[in-house]
Symmetry: D3
Subunit: 278 residues, 6 copies
Amino acid sequence: PQQGPLDITTEFGRLYVKPNEICVIPQGIRFSVALEGPSRGYILEVYDGHFRLPDLGPIGANGLANPRDFLTPTAHFEDRSVDGYRIVSKFQGALFVATQNHSPFDVVGWHGNYVPYKYDLARFMVINSVSFDHCDPSIFTVLTCPSNRPGTAIADFVVFPPRWSVQEHTFRPPYYHRNCMSEFMGLIFGRYEAKEGGFLPGGASLHSMMTPHGPDHRCFEGASNAELKPERIADGTQAFMFESSLSMAVTRWGEETCQKLDARYYECWQALEKHFHL
Amino acid sequence: PQQGPLDITTEFGRLYVKPNEICVIPQGIRFSVALEGPSRGYILEVYDGHFRLPDLGPIGANGLANPRDFLTPTAHFEDRSVDGYRIVSKFQGALFVATQNHSPFDVVGWHGNYVPYKYDLARFMVINSVSFDHCDPSIFTVLTCPSNRPGTAIADFVVFPPRWSVQEHTFRPPYYHRNCMSEFMGLIFGRYEAKEGGFLPGGASLHSMMTPHGPDHRCFEGASNAELKPERIADGTQAFMFESSLSMAVTRWGEETCQKLDARYYECWQALEKHFHL
Amino acid sequence: PQQGPLDITTEFGRLYVKPNEICVIPQGIRFSVALEGPSRGYILEVYDGHFRLPDLGPIGANGLANPRDFLTPTAHFEDRSVDGYRIVSKFQGALFVATQNHSPFDVVGWHGNYVPYKYDLARFMVINSVSFDHCDPSIFTVLTCPSNRPGTAIADFVVFPPRWSVQEHTFRPPYYHRNCMSEFMGLIFGRYEAKEGGFLPGGASLHSMMTPHGPDHRCFEGASNAELKPERIADGTQAFMFESSLSMAVTRWGEETCQKLDARYYECWQALEKHFHL
Amino acid sequence: PQQGPLDITTEFGRLYVKPNEICVIPQGIRFSVALEGPSRGYILEVYDGHFRLPDLGPIGANGLANPRDFLTPTAHFEDRSVDGYRIVSKFQGALFVATQNHSPFDVVGWHGNYVPYKYDLARFMVINSVSFDHCDPSIFTVLTCPSNRPGTAIADFVVFPPRWSVQEHTFRPPYYHRNCMSEFMGLIFGRYEAKEGGFLPGGASLHSMMTPHGPDHRCFEGASNAELKPERIADGTQAFMFESSLSMAVTRWGEETCQKLDARYYECWQALEKHFHL
Amino acid sequence: PQQGPLDITTEFGRLYVKPNEICVIPQGIRFSVALEGPSRGYILEVYDGHFRLPDLGPIGANGLANPRDFLTPTAHFEDRSVDGYRIVSKFQGALFVATQNHSPFDVVGWHGNYVPYKYDLARFMVINSVSFDHCDPSIFTVLTCPSNRPGTAIADFVVFPPRWSVQEHTFRPPYYHRNCMSEFMGLIFGRYEAKEGGFLPGGASLHSMMTPHGPDHRCFEGASNAELKPERIADGTQAFMFESSLSMAVTRWGEETCQKLDARYYECWQALEKHFHL
Amino acid sequence: PQQGPLDITTEFGRLYVKPNEICVIPQGIRFSVALEGPSRGYILEVYDGHFRLPDLGPIGANGLANPRDFLTPTAHFEDRSVDGYRIVSKFQGALFVATQNHSPFDVVGWHGNYVPYKYDLARFMVINSVSFDHCDPSIFTVLTCPSNRPGTAIADFVVFPPRWSVQEHTFRPPYYHRNCMSEFMGLIFGRYEAKEGGFLPGGASLHSMMTPHGPDHRCFEGASNAELKPERIADGTQAFMFESSLSMAVTRWGEETCQKLDARYYECWQALEKHFHL
């Protein structure tokens, strides 16, 4: 959720998920979502595999998202007769409806590990360079859904939380790059450093694989000339990224109907100057 | 080397190694070391496997010690007749001497990757928590010699270089712990934060596996009461650790003959107070 | 084959396959099937990978289907001129016909392990709980065709042979569940315990992934109230399952033309009663 | 424990372990054991690796020892001053004593997974052949401590609990064999089917690797001539095995001092007759 | 290139590639190709994974294509203003054009290993049987792009260079076979032994998976009756194969428009005689 | 066997093994060896793991030692009463004797794959460079007993059979080297090219790990000046190597008692000349 909490009921119990928390519901689990007012957020559906914590490598035994901060529902059930309870299932890309005369949330208890869970992004232990240079954004990975090709993800969920930025002799914002992953970014609240205009909470940007991108001109000039002392960044901000080795298509609604596409996005780089001085 | 540079000649060429640089010479390579004055340093010999860079996990494609900063010798040879050139080899724990009438460094050129190399520790890209909490020291790994048990090293070489320390709500020095590895620490120059007295450049400490240890009382009190703002630590200092899943024995010379053992080491923790207040 | 034997000729020799035997013919091998009368059976075609025995884990060195019970043809050939011998090949989903003037079964001998084979299902060593609780049906796996995702099969071939059922404090029939695999069941002979009516030899049921299912009302009541002493089950019966991580589509013929779809299948669960007593 | 419960205090909390329960304490954890009377039991110390549940292979998602039945201590601490509290540590095969003035069990809370735990052997879900033939005893594995050679264990802990025995056309007791593992058997209570005389609760047998062994003559004759109907076996009995790919030495105390060695063990097989009838 | 050199400019520098050299450009790299006259060659595009050297198995540490023979560009840049510089990108199967006012080859330097490279096929160390029998053509692999299924390649690039042929008691040309890979062959120069007529430099043959094929009648008779002494083969010839576990479709241009399809290809096998003599 | 055949009886049946055949008997199997006259040979005992065929890498599906050429005994038994039949077992480095009153070879039949086998070295399909350069001797591997460190063998069994040698621009005999393996060579019959004098059938040489070695002076001069045309080598010769990542000790008998040590071995290299010409 980016705006308004979600009151989620599942067969395994209930999850109350507020903005800056995320919720993962595994495939095949019945759930319903109740709202308390206007609501908006981001959804990512993966069609293969499951999300898990990344292997930490030399980060060692703890760091990034810690297992103990993922919360699962406690047992909860309702024994409720309902005339024409409708259950909507997605199967092979189509929606099917079944009707029954009782609540599906009549599951008394459970054990196992195939359960919905939530996580508060504020609990993410941010790790980064404390000397110089720029880490690969994978260092911000919260959860990864690995593909069958080792080292390649169907989807990574990555966050850019409040943190200290202390690298010396370094251009600190995201660098200019193109790569083999699709990058879908969203903003839960605050202002994203690499593009302050036009990227608002609830909005999104998509940089498809091998498409070059990087910070806007204003950010480039600022970061290139800033004195590099310790600096808090992203305080009051929560940006995130869905990164995938697959290509993400934009629906007709997203591309046309909604009239929200920023046709002048490319202009944020137009003012960048050539720096060859022969 | 901790004091004085090493002028190393190998069959693959020459390496000039100064303090704060490290040098790795693989098994079976002929070498000789020339000195320019008083010399002192630390040696680690592994009897199985080879050192390599650690897998980086979510750190991604770059970080810690970068491959491009490891330097190998360029080709060099000498065609020199020597009466009674002595070559000392270590084989199955014993030293053998062979005598020949020419320099062994008559190797004209080479290709391959089984070569000696050196690395300047100042080039290590230090990564650490930029939010809160304490990373496992494995995050400081320069090189690892993995054992056959996945996740366990015959030896890790770990450094604690100058860096920013910015974690909030955190006890920033090394925590109190015991673990399954033997920890041999040395100091190349400067002062090590967790034990300022008694741990001098050229000295060493050994905490064997499952032996509890941690910072001295002075460090504990200081860090427990400090205001947690961004702070440069270890400037002008280079401490390191040889960490092994094997137990390291101390020789009779080290334990007795040299008269350098700090018999009062344990006293650095004696002043630590109980904090139970019922 | 479910009814009538198959007299199969392949380039590697001949296989005479009777009901309760299965036959696997690898991709790309020429074969022809001769019948002795009315014939009916089940076919499963996999488009990637090959069937193999499952790893046995703690079951140890022997159990389930044993390697020695798989029979391959002995060498056999025919030197036969045939006017217009037609060979039908399936390539990229289409059928192609080639005509030649001699039998393709003119292969004199062979060695290797890429061969057709057959297996008598009566030789399956059934393993199951001999204390309490219900094993995952994977414990009945005869052959598995693994996918690239470890732990997930393109197809498992699973049988439910005659065996002892001795679990105490346990609901012994298949439990109610939904899961990530498609389950296609067939019956070679006899009566399947979890649905005695409507599921006949030569028939089939399909429970697609994440679709809840379980035993019918009659079976549920019976098993819930039975005295749990040792009991032979499935004597004279051979049910099996093709289980796949992929979704299986039903052809128009299967869904409509054949007029064999059991439109009232769901009714077998209608009599199940609510057991909440507050 | 085989006789009398153990009241174990560890840094992670307390474990009350009764006969037919097992307790695992990982390396390096401080613990003390209080007794309530005469006490006897079996201890297995592994010098490498850790115990874990075996991979289940086709047994599937549940079976044998289920994760949910392993119990860890809840947090517990004592703030207790003790004059001369002695802590005994084992390091590189020798015992060391340290003295301190307070209880080491002053650990207030914990999280993580490197903890002591206990397990009630009665919760083991026994799986075995329900058709014919004899499963490898690995099917009784509770916990395994894998070695670096895949498929080979430093130690397996295996139990033979009360269960149904229903195999037809089969010699049901353990078969005669020799193999690459050392087998140390013990008996917690009851009578072990394959050797009723001489193998008493609290006793033990050791069959070293590649040493042939099997049931005694009485068991062989009985099982060879018994009618093979469903039969409860091992009711009121709990035998177990420590199985290792390493060789286990017997101490001088065990071999001589205790005067408990059964010098006539081999006689249990002397009465076995030749069955060649030409 | 099969005819005429390629003068390739990339963001990483320049590569001058002559016939009998190959060039690999990774996904997402900008490049342009300049010609010096008539030019013709073969292109293989893989949509997943990257090419790498095959694991060598018992071939050991060196052999086939050696790492040191792969050449990468040295740094090169141009600071050039261009009115309407067009960059063509392929994305999800469609071509897109972007226009800019400067050369994209303004990259001053680089480090890393994701770079274009070239390789001279004459440097391939050919390994083969020096006793008897016929090796699998995989022994000629230059580069492989592995798929997610171990042992199966998205594409192998295989060459048949000049070499000695010395096998005794062996039919030396490629044998008759069908297999699970698609085989696309091309000829850079010279004459291919297994089909001298109709397979010319710049031409190609495609044998789709599971389609039987082998040498033509002339080659079969010649090799079946030849005296088997050491013989140079393929001198002055360079044939190659793209081998893939995927099926390769032929475009309408290739199949019809170009009028180059050899409709009588099958006739090269028609003269093969039956060798059954009863 | 190097001289005289071995008539081996095992629990699995009989193996008649002649010189140029090898025999492998797995750990723990009872066997006896009968001779027909003077007998001599080489024995290698491995204390961990088992021999298997090497993975073939790009050599593909066939080559080197082919599985079909390994022969196992057919079932054989003897029902023979023997007074005081002595069985000698090796256990933890010591020999133990058991006495019984019947032949241990009373095993009627068997199935499985843990069996003794033999292999005729003349069936080895020799593969090597057919262009230029020198292959790693691993390309001659018949069987390997892998260690737990991937890529490193407890023991490789390697042969140098009759074959064609055709490499151009290459020094064809073994090159001068030192490496991480111990090399024990033996000669079954014929003359070994790299050292014709002093290395006789039934003899052996040992080059321990990291000890430099290579062909003698005569071989060096000959091969350096020979015209490089196709040449049969090793006809009428069968040399082999036991190569191990472990160090092999020589017994006192081998080093002193037997008086067979060639104290002047090093002289074979003395005549090698310096080739620096400045």
